[in-house]
Every structure is written in structure tokens, then in C-alpha cells.
């Protein structure tokens, strides 16, 4: 993937990483930060002068099972971490796409969440400490290894979803949990979208607390709803019973879920043509948004994390229809009080369809923050929100 | 900013530093304070007022400072903050102490002094005078004096008109006889405080109280020579006047009580019953009021220990005769000086629960002051109205036909507020209600 002529470097420790950034800053060389290369499609990335790869920054620094925390080096792969935690009977309650190859640093930088967010919180909720290599050559620490901490500003939040535009995540501490004993799930089909979302919403706020509630729609099929639960056996049984009841009440037909969520989760990996739009909207607005989406020319697939209001829509077909469709979706999201971006689009659409066409609130502050952390503007020039 | 003042407080009634020190300025009391709810400023919150008292001790503010007077005066002395305080700050004692100091240091206009003398020395302690005043007031009301006073457009006259609003439409002096014998087997023997306002305007409530107690096997006697309890004086900072009245009352009750000869004082009386929450709260604090008086302090404490609110006493001893049903939709409003001043909460509710068929609707913010706080209507008319409006709003929303309470001030205040709002909801003393339920 590396374009010819780009210098790539893989620092082996935090200080070295920071030094590289400082040198690039001094020489005004633009830098791309590369983890598992799983999300290289995101943003308006063009070629940069340099690539900093975190592959040399891997390993578990500390895992104290009784504290339910783990500290890892930024380039550690999610899969490797999961293996290590599993050996201690624990897991990182995060199910982002591309989990096989993605690195922890990349997941944090891209704020890459999955369907479990409804139950366990997202990246921003699980991340309690970071060390970040900055373009001024220093390594700054924020938060720590304790689950509760309000000393100083919470730069963990700032770095989550910053796409490498402020610094390189060289270390992260996350909350982990013991692996629950039981899990189960339900999949249902609905003829109408509003029914599917109404059921999803009822399940999501049920006292029995599902682990994930997703809604899917493809151009060919009906609306599908998938709900899963994990925990103690009694609680799981109750949750699936609740889900079935809500489904039935709204005319859906329920069956036992297999691994449907995995397939839904990996939509970004599959959506290599056309455009994949990702929006976050208020949860009650999803139904109307989804209805709009499903009527678009070129509509292919919609996957909603119905408990959180994060919806991905894949549109494909002729370029005009894709562009128009993507723009309509972003506009619709804004109209209901949300926002979004074009997460992925075919290579040849890059010029026509910008990744982040919406102007976000607080743009001025973001600009100032970007300038304060990266005055030379070297980091990920195509991904800065400012 | 830190100029010092020569003398923190003029005399020993000052709000004690040790009482102030209990306040850890946690702020828990703020949301319960009616004046803070209306004004939203720290000076008019319990924590702020305590801080002002402390600042005077630190000589950074004079006890005669206008701001001190202003914010201490705005306090309703409702003592809701006391209930809210986890630290056990005795705010009532503090604010009455602070007021006494303001009275002592602040020169008042001649008119104000004259009014104080008239009200505190002449009117309140003399039942007949108060009764006469009440009768005149009722007459004045009938004659449309309110409209006349309002028409003058004078602020003071307007306030007088507001005061008239408070006077009930009846003024009667038909109180209970000196002794009301217990019905059936006698379970207890109690002395009843007649009270100044109760005795003149609400005499029927006194009679009703005696009847209700007698029905339940309690003998009631009404000592002669008793006088006003002095609560309003203490609230207004007139502590010497309050002490004088307290001494007279203690002596009067001691004397009357001696009717069962050969007993030590207060041994043969089971309780001193008060049906006005404000008076009861003050009389329970006679010990504190007279603590620095060597001749009286022990007697005062012995007396105070016997004081019980009528609802408290009756519920604690237990209702013996089941009242008949009363098919009303009622709601209970806690008098501040019962709930916060005397910490009596469950007993009146238990009595209400004992009346069959009575539908009791919970009142939002039943634990909030109604704005009746002695002379508060006159001194702080705007605030008093804001506090009252809040109460009336909750009552109207509750849908109740009758508001039940247990303090004459609250009764008059709430009734006036309801009337002003064009509502026909009535306000009744719990003892009157019980009396009605028992029937003749």
C-alpha cells in the first residue's frame, strides 16, 4: 500500500516515535500514522512524505486481573490482546470492525466501536489512560491506571477519534471485564422498518440489558433485527425472553441468532465500491433516517447499532447516484440533530465526494487545538477535522 | 476589605460561635430554603446567613450593618434548613440570636419602636386586647376597610390591608372551660396552653382540642394567668420580652398544676399541650431561652420537657375512640414549627390515617413554609407573597378540597392565599377536623 518514495519508519519505543515526529515537524514533512492498516480508507488521506508505523510498538505492559485494567503498547493488535486476556478469563468489551488486524492505537484513534457499546460503553468510556507521542518531541501522559481519575484535563477523550492528527498513541490503559458465563441471541425479521426499530428500541431499554441490538436491511431482504445478551445464565435467559416478547409484539418473527453480528460488523470491510456513509443520530430518529436511506437510488445495505444510533449505509451504482445518495444521507442526519461522514468510498470517487462534508460545531476550537498540538501541520493532513 | 469593627456582638444572646462551628458549609440546606428558592443568592440561604453571623464574629462586618439586618430579616425562621442539615446545625437558635443582636444595636425609628411596643407589649400578651383587635379587624373587613386601605395607594396601608386578609371572618372567644373531664377511664391529665392568637381568634379550636383529648381519656385543664408564649417576640429578636413572658407562663402553669397537692412541680401533669405549632416549638425551647438565668433555668427545662404538640401527644398515647368517617378529599400541610421546629412528622399523619373515609392526597412540598412567619407578611411582603403563591399552587394542583394543618399562622396565611386565588378550598386545624369527626 505504501506509495513509492514515501519513507516509512517503525519506531520501537515511545521516545523514538516522538523524536521522529519532532524531526518531521522541523523539516515540515507530512506524516501518516499506520497501525494495522485496516482503516486506511478513512478520511481524505493523500500521500504523505513519511509513514510512522506502530508495528514495532507492541506488547502488554501490565495486566492486573483483580484491578480489571490492562495497559498495552499502542501498536498491540487487538487479537493478541484478546488472547492474553482470555488466558486470565477476561476480555476487552469492545467489538470494533477489523478486529483481527486492527491495533489498539488505531482503534482508539479512529474511535472504532462495535455493537457492544450499548452495554459496556465505547472506546471513550473504556479508555482510562494514554501516553501520546507529540510533534514537539515529547511524550505526554493523560489519565492513568485507575478507573476513576479527574486529575488534569482528560486528553484521553481528545485523542479518541482524533485519527492521528494530534499525536501518536504509544500506550493505552483500558478497563477489562471477566468473561461472562452465558450468551445467547435472537434474530428476527420485520416487513416494516419502523416496527424493527420500535422493537429494537424497546429491547435496548429493557431492564434485562442486552449486549447488542442491531438492525439490518439490504436491498433484497426484509428488515432484520439481532439482539444478543451476555452475563449470568438467568439474566441471559430473561434478556432473550424479553427480546422475543418485544419482537412478537411488533409482528416480527424470531429465531435463534448465530454469528450474524460478525457479518454486520464487517460491513466497512466489504463496502469497497460506491460509498459507505456512517452517521450518528439521536436514537429515536433512526427509524425515519433508515426509511429515507432504504428508498435511495443505489441503496445496498443499512446496518444500525440501534441502541446507540450509529447507522452505516452502503450505496452503490453509478457515480452520480452514489454521490447524490451520500450527500442526501449526510443532510438527513444533520436535519435530525446528528452528523456523519463518508467513511469509505471507491478510489475514483475521492475527488468528487469529500470524506467530511459537514461543518461541525466547535470547528474554531478544533482548529485552535490542532494548531496548538501540531503547529507545523504535519500529522495526517487529510484527516484533520479542523 | 477587611476593616474591623470594635465589637462583634453586643450581648450574650449572640449566635454562639460553637453553634456556628457546626456548619461545614456543605450546602445541603440550600435547596430546602424558601428564600433561596425565590432570590437565588447565597446571602439569603441558611449557609450564607450562618456565614454572615460568623463574619460578624470575625469583625469583618458590623452587627449593625444594613446587609446583615436585611438578610437575617428575610429569613422566615421556618427551620427547614435544620431538618436538611446532616451536621445538626441548630439554625433556629442561631437566627433568633442574630435577630436579638440586631434589635440591640440598630437604632429604630420612633414609629417602628411604637409599633413594636404596641404589638409585643400590649397586643400579644393580652388576650382580651388581641380579641378586641381581632373583632375590630373583622368589623373593618366587613366594612370594606381593605378596599379603602388599598385605595390609598400607600405601601404601608396596602400591607395593613394584607394583614386584614389574614384575619378570619369570625372572631370568637368561646374557648374551653377550665377543666374538661376525661370520658371513660382517665389515662392522663394535661394542661392546655390557650395561646394569644388561638385564645382570641381560634378559641373554638382550643375547645375542640380539649374535647378530642377528653374523648380519648385525657383530662384537660386550662391554667389561669397564662399568657402569650413569646414565640413571636423571640423570632423578632425581642428576647427580653420573650423571657418575661416565659417566666410568667412557667409560674402560671406551676401554680395551676399545684392543684394536686403535695407533689413536686410538674409531677402530676402528664403534659403541657399546645395546639399551635409555633408556640409549641418556642415553649420546648424555654430551657434554652432562660439558660443564663440561674433562678429559672432548671424550672424552664422541667417545663419545656413537658411540652407536647396536641397531635404529637394524642398519636403517641394512642387514639382510644375511633372517629367516625369523614368523606373529604384532604391534604396535609406540615407547619414548619411542627415538622422542622419540633421534628414531629409521623404523628399528625397517623391521626389522619385514623379517620375513616378520609382521602388523603399527598401535597408536593408539604414540608415547605407557607410564608406565614409572624410579622413576615408585613416586613417582607413581596417575599411572603412569592412563598405563599408557591404553596397555593401546589394545593390547587393537588385537587384536595380541604387543607389540614396545625398552626394558626399557617391557617390564616393559607386561607388568605387561597381566597386571593379565587379558590374555595378551606383550611382546617387537625384538632377541629378530629372534633368534627367525633361528632357531638
Amino acid at each position: 500500500m505504501t506509495a513509492i518514495g514515501i519513507r516509512a519508519a517503525a519506531p520501537t519505543d515511545a521516545a523514538e516515535c516522538a523524536r521522529m515526529l519532532a524531526e518531521a515537524s522541523r523539516d515540515r514533512r507530512t506524516v501518516r500514522v499506520v497501525g494495522g492498516m485496516t482503516k486506511s480508507y478513512i478520511g481524505d488521506v493523500g500521500d504523505t512524505d513519511t509513514e510512522v508505523r506502530t508495528s514495532g510498538l507492541a506488547g502488554i505492559v501490565d495486566h492486573v486481573p483483580a484491578d480489571l485494567t490492562v495497559t498495552v503498547v499502542g501498536g498491540t493488535r487487538m487479537a493478541d490482546l484478546a488472547d492474553a486476556l482470555a488466558r486470565a478469563g477476561q476480555f476487552l468489551p469492545l467489538d470494533p470492525p477489523h478486529a483481527d488486524h486492527a491495533t489498539i492505537g488505531g482503534i482508539i484513534a479512529a474511535n472504532s466501536n462495535g455493537f457492544w457499546r450499548a452495554r459496556y460503553g465505547g472506546v471513550r468510556d473504556l479508555l482510562i489512560g494514554t501516553r501520546i507521542a507529540l510533534p514537539d518531541g515529547t511524550v505526554a501522559r493523560s489519565g492513568g491506571r485507575v478507573v476513576k481519575n479527574v486529575a488534569g484535563y482528560d486528553l484521553n477523550k481528545l485523542i479518541t477519534g482524533s485519527f492521528g492528527t494530534l499525536g501518536v498513541i504509544v500506550e493505552a490503559t483500558l478497563k477489562v471485564l471477566p468473561v461472562p458465563t452465558a450468551r445467547d441471541g435472537v434474530v428476527a425479521t420485520f416487513a416494516r422498518g419502523p416496527d424493527a426499530f420500535a422493537a429494537a428500541s424497546a429491547i435496548a431499554r429493557a431492564a434485562s440489558r442486552p449486549e447488542a441490538v442491531a438492525v439490518e436491511r439490504t436491498a433484497r431482504d426484509d428488515w432484520r433485527l439481532i439482539a444478543t445478551a451476555r452475563g449470568a445464565a438467568a439474566a441471559v435467559a430473561r434478556a432473550t425472553a424479553d427480546a422475543r416478547r418485544e419482537i412478537k409484539a411488533r409482528g416480527g418473527s424470531a429465531a435463534i441468532a448465530a454469528d450474524e453480528l460478525d457479518e454486520l460488523r464487517e460491513l466497512p470491510a466489504r463496502a469497497t465500491d460506491g460509498a459507505l456513509v456512517r452517521v450518528a443520530v439521536p436514537i429515536a430518529a433512526q427509524s425515519a433516517f433508515a426509511d429515507t436511506a432504504a428508498r435511495l437510488e443505489g441503496f445496498a445495505t443499512l446496518v444500525a447499532d440501534a441502541a446507540s444510533g450509529v447507522v452505516r449505509v452502503h450505496v452503490r451504482g453509478d457515480d452520480d447516484a452514489v454521490t447524490r445518495g451520500a450527500e442526501a444521507l449526510l443532510l438527513a442526519a444533520r436535519m435530525v440533530g446528528g452528523g456523519g461522514r463518508v467513511e469509505r468510498r471507491a478510489e475514483h470517487l475521492r475527488a468528487r465526494l469529500p470524506a467530511s462534508p459537514t461543518r461541525t460545531n466547535g470547528g474554531l476550537l478544533m482548529r485552535r487545538i490542532k494548531d496548538a498540538f501540531d503547529p507545523a501541520g504535519i500529522l495526517e493532513p487529510g484527516r484533520s477535522p479542523a | 476589605m477587611t476593616a474591623t469593627f470594635p465589637l462583634p456582638y453586643p450581648n450574650a444572646d449572640a449566635p454562639g460561635e460553637d453553634l456556628i462551628a457546626r456548619c461545614v458549609h456543605c450546602g445541603f440546606c440550600l435547596p430546602t430554603c424558601p428564600t433561596f428558592a425565590v432570590l437565588g443568592v447565597e446571602m439569603d440561604s441558611p449557609r450564607g446567613r450562618i456565614r454572615l453571623m460568623k463574619t460578624v464574629w470575625e469583625r469583618r462586618l458590623g452587627a449593625d450593618a444594613a446587609g446583615f439586618d436585611d438578610h437575617i430579616s428575610k429569613c422566615l425562621d421556618c427551620r427547614a434548613c435544620e431538618t436538611a442539615c446532616p451536621s445538626g446545625v441548630e439554625y433556629g437558635k442561631l437566627v433568633e440570636g442574630a435577630r436579638s443582636q440586631i434589635v440591640a444595636v440598630r437604632p429604630r425609628s420612633r414609629i417602628e419602636r411604637a409599633i413594636r411596643v404596641a404589638a409585643f407589649d400590649w397586643l400579644l400578651p393580652h388576650r382580651r386586647a388581641l380579641g378586641a383587635f381581632a373583632s375590630i379587624s373583622v368589623l373593618a373587613k366587613r366594612l370594606g376597610a381593605r378596599a379603602v386601605l388599598r385605595a390609598t395607594h400607600l405601601r404601608a396601608a396596602g400591607r395593613m390591608a394584607d394583614l386584614l386578609d389574614l384575619v378570619p371572618d369570625r372572631a370568637s372567644a368561646s374557648g374551653p372551660p377550665r377543666i374538661v373531664r376525661a370520658r371513660g377511664e382517665r389515662r392522663a391529665r394535661v394542661a392546655l396552653l390557650r395561646g394569644c392568637v388561638m385564645g382570641s381568634v381560634f378559641a373554638p379550636t382550643n375547645a375542640a382540642t380539649a374535647r378530642v383529648l377528653a374523648r380519648n381519656g385525657i383530662e384537660v385543664f386550662v391554667p389561669d394567668d397564662q399568657t402569650c408564649c413569646g414565640a413571636l417576640h423571640a423570632h423578632a429578636g425581642e428576647r427580653d420580652r420573650a423571657r418575661a413572658l416565659a417566666r410568667r407562663n412557667i409560674a402560671a402553669f406551676e401554680k395551676a398544676e399545684g392543684s394536686e397537692r403535695g407533689r413536686a412541680p410538674f409531677e402530676s401533669v402528664d403534659a403541657v399541650i399546645v395546639n399551635a405549632a409555633g408556640c409549641g416549638a418556642a415553649m420546648k425551647e424555654y430551657g434554652w431561652l432562660l439558660k443564663d438565668d440561674p433562678e429559672w433555668s432548671t424550672r424552664a427545662s422541667a417545663f419545656a420537657a413537658k411540652v407536647k404538640d396536641a397531635t404529637e401527644y394524642l398519636a403517641d398515647i394512642g387514639v382510644r375512640e375511633q372517629p367516625r368517617g369523614l368523606g373529604v378529599r384532604a391534604t396535609w400541610d406540615d407547619p414548619c414549627h411542627l415538622l422542622h421546629g419540633q421534628k414531629v412528622r409521623e404523628q399528625p399523619r397517623a391521626l389522619l390515617a385514623a379517620i375513616p373515609e378520609l382521602e388523603l392526597i399527598p401535597l408536593a412540598e408539604a414540608d415547605w413554609c407557607c410564608g406565614s412567619a409572624g410579622t413576615y407578611n408585613v416586613t417582607q411582603p413581596d417575599l411572603a407573597r412569592a412563598v405563599l403563591d408557591r404553596k397555593v399552587g401546589h394545593i390547587l394542583r393537588s385537587g384536595a378540597d380541604v387543607v389540614i394543618t396545625a398552626n394558626p399562622g399557617c391557617l390564616m396565611q393559607i386561607q388568605a392565599g387561597l381566597r386571593a386565588a379565587g379558590s374555595r378550598v378551606t383550611v382546617v386545624h387537625l384538632m377541629d377536623l378530629l372534633d368534627q369527626a367525633y361528632g357531638p
Binding site: L158, G340 | P31
Partner: protein, 466 residues
């Protein structure tokens, strides 16, 4: 002062001596007198006053209910205190979207009360929830007993309207779970009034748990109680709350609220599990067993909602009840990895003994958030406070050395800003300063907080050097 009155009208500006002295304090021990107090009634008022202060280079110090425990609302460098007491409206309860929009002066508990008819509540429940404001919660990133399982304030805020020190009004986030660009909502929460004034907050509302089990276990020693906490967590149980209290604290609480705590136990644990009814009793049973295995000498289970409330009333009134033991207290808020509890509690005890001060402990044991309450009496002289602070510093140093933090929920404020170098290196603080400069280039927002200031911290730095 006059300028402010001209700008906002006399009813919104305070300047008399009797007015200013009551804005000198918060819930902690530090004090300073403001030059003026402003009581805005709208975002427009806030923006106008900020512009005014910007023009005249006057510090701006936001204030909620003044229950803060790190001097956050104290105008240590003078200036204008902005009280949000009159911006206390619940703008919207949006049950369908599980959100509420509130003004910053809304009291924490009032929001949950308003949401209850919809079967929802606002999760963060600081012990001060009857009094503290949501603006203060956002500024301090407040926690509470029940944030162990469900997250602190930052996990429950999705949108903010803020006014910057130059008067600019900025909206961040909204009702959706996340927004494009940097997470400035998350960055702002916990910034202790140093980045801007919050004028509106969008929060998550969460369905009320279906049921709860609350149990109180009494132990001979703090050690036994601490081991129990570790054992519960290690067993994979994440209760809604695990709170611990030592004997001295129990004594004060019992005097205040009669919660029914045993007075002769060395330590008590309050454990609550909540969620779907199914399986709840199993979990409670397991916790009970763990408690017994670790030497609990008595266990009481709240049978009714009223009993549960009483148990909690004791815990929630604990700090304030200290007034019954001592006129002044200095509360620390250090955090440690929960496995280090027994060892740090010994440090706490030692610090009290060394400085001849009584120390009561009431704290969030489940997340390792200590609250040693160091009792002293200022009437014995100002050096009493110095001794209390010295004891506090010993404790905090031990917390940081154990891999913990100076503060878990009360904030750094003006109380611990000099200690920041214990936990953060120069480059860490420099990174935070960049954020500060982006939001507040003029440096007018709540100066003297969070970051060490050369003037006030010189002595501390010198002492540390020695």
C-alpha cells in the same frame, strides 16, 4: 462593577460587603473574596458578562451550588464570580431519545426526580446530589456510589453549550452519541471551569434498574473489608456500588441519620447490586458468601425500599455529618488500584497518627477512590489546617506512588494544583496547557486552578526540593 450593573442591571450584580463574603467559600477549606458576583439569567447574559470581563481583563470564576471540595469556585485571584443559581431550568426531558437538556444550575437530584415518571434517571449520584448542580458535575466530572458500574459524569454527557472567555457561544455535540471531529465535550468535562462557562447541558438518561439488593456487612477490621472488596471484584461481580466506612465515620453518621449501622464494627461495607430481577438473588447470595468467607461478623439485607434508603442516607450524609465530630474537616480524594487498598489504608492511619489528627474514612471502595476525612479545628489556630494538609499530602503521595491519582472526583482546584507535579511530568502539563490556550487564550477562566501557579506553589516546590 458599575460597568457590570450598566450592562446587566442591578438585580443581577452583587457588590456589597455582606454579599461578597458569602461567596468566599465552597464545601472545602479554602476561601477568597470576589470583587463582584454576577447572577446571569440567560446565555446572552453570560456572553455579555464574559465579553465585559475580557475587555477589562478580569478573571471569571463560575459557581454552581458551591459544594465543591477542591476550592474550584473560589476566586483565588479575585475577579467576578458567576453564580448559576438562576439558570436552573430543565429545558427538556426527551424520553424517546434518552436525553435531557438542562441549564447548568439544575440540581442533580431534581433531574432524576423529573425523569423518574419516564422510568429514567441520571446516573451520576454524588453524595451531594441533593444540593450540587449539573454545571458543577460537568466541571468536576463528578462521580458517586453508583458510578462504579454505570460510569461517571463524562460517560453521561453528549452535548454542551459553552461560553468562552471572550463571550463567544459555542455548541458542542448534541443528542447523538458522538459527533464529527474532536471530542470536545469529553475534553471539556472535568475541566473545572478553566476552559469556559457551561450554559446548557445535554445528558443521557438511563432506564431505572428493575430491582436492587442492598446489603450491609460489618467487619472487625478495615483490612478484612478491603479484602472482601477485592474478592468480590475478582469473582467477576461488578456491583452497582461498593462503599466502605470506618468506625469513626459510622459514629458521626449514626448521630446524624440513625441509619442503623453497627457502632462497634471496625469497618462496614455497603454493597448494592441492581439490574434485571432474574439472577439478582444469586448474585447477592454470592456476595454474602464472599463477605462471610472474609470474616464479616454480621450482614444485614435491606428488606424494603425504605430500609435501603436509610442505609444510603447514612452514606450520603456522611461528609456533612462530620460537623458532629469536628468543626472542620479536610477531605482527600486520592485513587489507587483497588488491589492496593489495605496497604494505603495503613498509610492513611499512620498519617493521622503522625500528625495527631483524627481521620475518618468513608469511600467508594469499589473503584479504589479513598475519602479520608482529616478532622481539625480552625479555632485552635491556622496551623491546624497546615497540619491537616500535611497529613493529606502524605496520603496523596502514597496514592500516586501506588500508581493512582490525586483525585477521583473532587477535582484539583486550588487545593491540589501545587501537587500536580507529583502525578504529571512537565510535558504532560504542557500538553494540557495547549488545550487551555486553545479554549481560553486570554487566561481569564478560573485562574489559579488545576495548573500549578508559580506564586502560590513556590513554597511547595521548595519544600519538595528539600
Amino acid at each position: 462593577m458599575r460597568g457590570l450593573v450598566d450592562l446587566l442591571g442591578p438585580s443581577k450584580v452583587l457588590g456589597a460587603r455582606a454579599d461578597l463574603v458569602v461567596y468566599e467559600y465552597d464545601g472545602a477549606v479554602d476561601t477568597a473574596t470576589p470583587d463582584a458576583v454576577v447572577l446571569p439569567e440567560s446565555t446572552a447574559d453570560v456572553s455579555a458578562l464574559a465579553r465585559f470581563c475580557h475587555e477589562h481583563a478580569v478573571p471569571i470564576v463560575p459557581r454552581g451550588a458551591g459544594t465543591g471540595l477542591s476550592g474550584g469556585a473560589i476566586p483565588v485571584e479575585g475577579g467576578v464570580v458567576v453564580s448559576f443559581a438562576r439558570m436552573a431550568r430543565i429545558v427538556e426531558i426527551d424520553a424517546a431519545n434518552l436525553r435531557a437538556i438542562v441549564q447548568p444550575g439544575v440540581i442533580n437530584l431534581h433531574l432524576s426526580t423529573a425523569a423518574a415518571p419516564y422510568g429514567l434517571h441520571f446516573v451520576p449520584d454524588p453524595s451531594s446530589q441533593k444540593a450540587c448542580t449539573l454545571g458543577g458535575n460537568v466541571a468536576e466530572n463528578s462521580g458517586g456510589p453508583h458510578t462504579l458500574a454505570y460510569g461517571v459524569t463524562t460517560n453521561h454527557v453528549t452535548g454542551l453549550e459553552i461560553v468562552l472567555s471572550d463571550g463567544e457561544v459555542v455548541r458542542l455535540g448534541g443528542k447523538a452519541i458522538e459527533h464529527e471531529g474532536y471530542d470536545l465535550v469529553g475534553t471539556f468535562v472535568g475541566s473545572e471551569g478553566t476552559l469556559g462557562l457551561v450554559t446548557e447541558i445535554t445528558v443521557r438518561l438511563v432506564p431505572l434498574p428493575e430491582d436492587k439488593r442492598t446489603l450491609m456487612a460489618a467487619f472487625e477490621t478495615m483490612d478484612a473489608a478491603s479484602e472482601t472488596v477485592s474478592a468480590i471484584i475478582a469473582a467477576g461481580i461488578v456491583p452497582g456500588a461498593i462503599e466502605m466506612m470506618d468506625q469513626l465515620a459510622t459514629e458521626a453518621v449514626e448521630a446524624a441519620v440513625h441509619a442503623g449501622y453497627p457502632l462497634d464494627a471496625g469497618a462496614i461495607l455497603l454493597v448494592e447490586v441492581d439490574g434485571p430481577r432474574d439472577g439478582l438473588d444469586d448474585i447477592r447470595q454470592r456476595i454474602e458468601t464472599i463477605c462471610r468467607e472474609n470474616g464479616a461478623r454480621s450482614i444485614r439485607i435491606a428488606a424494603t425500599a425504605l430500609e435501603r434508603e436509610r442505609l444510603w442516607a447514612g452514606r450520603k450524609g456522611a461528609f456533612a455529618a462530620m460537623g458532629r465530630l469536628s468543626p472542620d474537616y479536610y477531605v482527600q480524594d486520592g485513587v489507587i488500584p483497588r488491589t492496593r487498598l489495605p496497604e494505603i489504608l495503613r498509610v492513611v492511619k499512620g498519617a493521622g497518627e503522625r500528625h495527631h489528627l483524627r481521620v475518618a474514612n468513608v469511600f467508594h471502595a469499589g473503584d479504589g477512590n479513598l475519602h479520608p476525612l482529616i478532622l481539625f479545628d480552625l479555632r485552635d489556630g491556622p496551623e491546624e489546617l497546615e497540619r491537616a494538609k500535611a497529613a493529606g499530602l502524605e496520603i496523596l503521595t502514597a496514592c500516586v506512588e501506588a500508581g493512582g491519582s490525586l483525585t477521583g472526583e473532587h477535582g484539583i482546584g486550588m487545593e491540589k494544583n501545587c501537587y500536580m507535579p507529583l502525578q504529571f511530568a512537565a510535558q504532560d502539563l504542557a500538553a494540557m496547557r495547549r488545550v487551555k490556550e486553545a479554549f481560553d487564550p486570554a487566561g481569564l477562566m478560573n485562574p489559579g486552578k488545576v495548573f500549578p501557579t508559580p506564586s502560590r506553589c513556590r513554597e511547595f516546590v521548595l519544600a519538595a526540593a528539600r
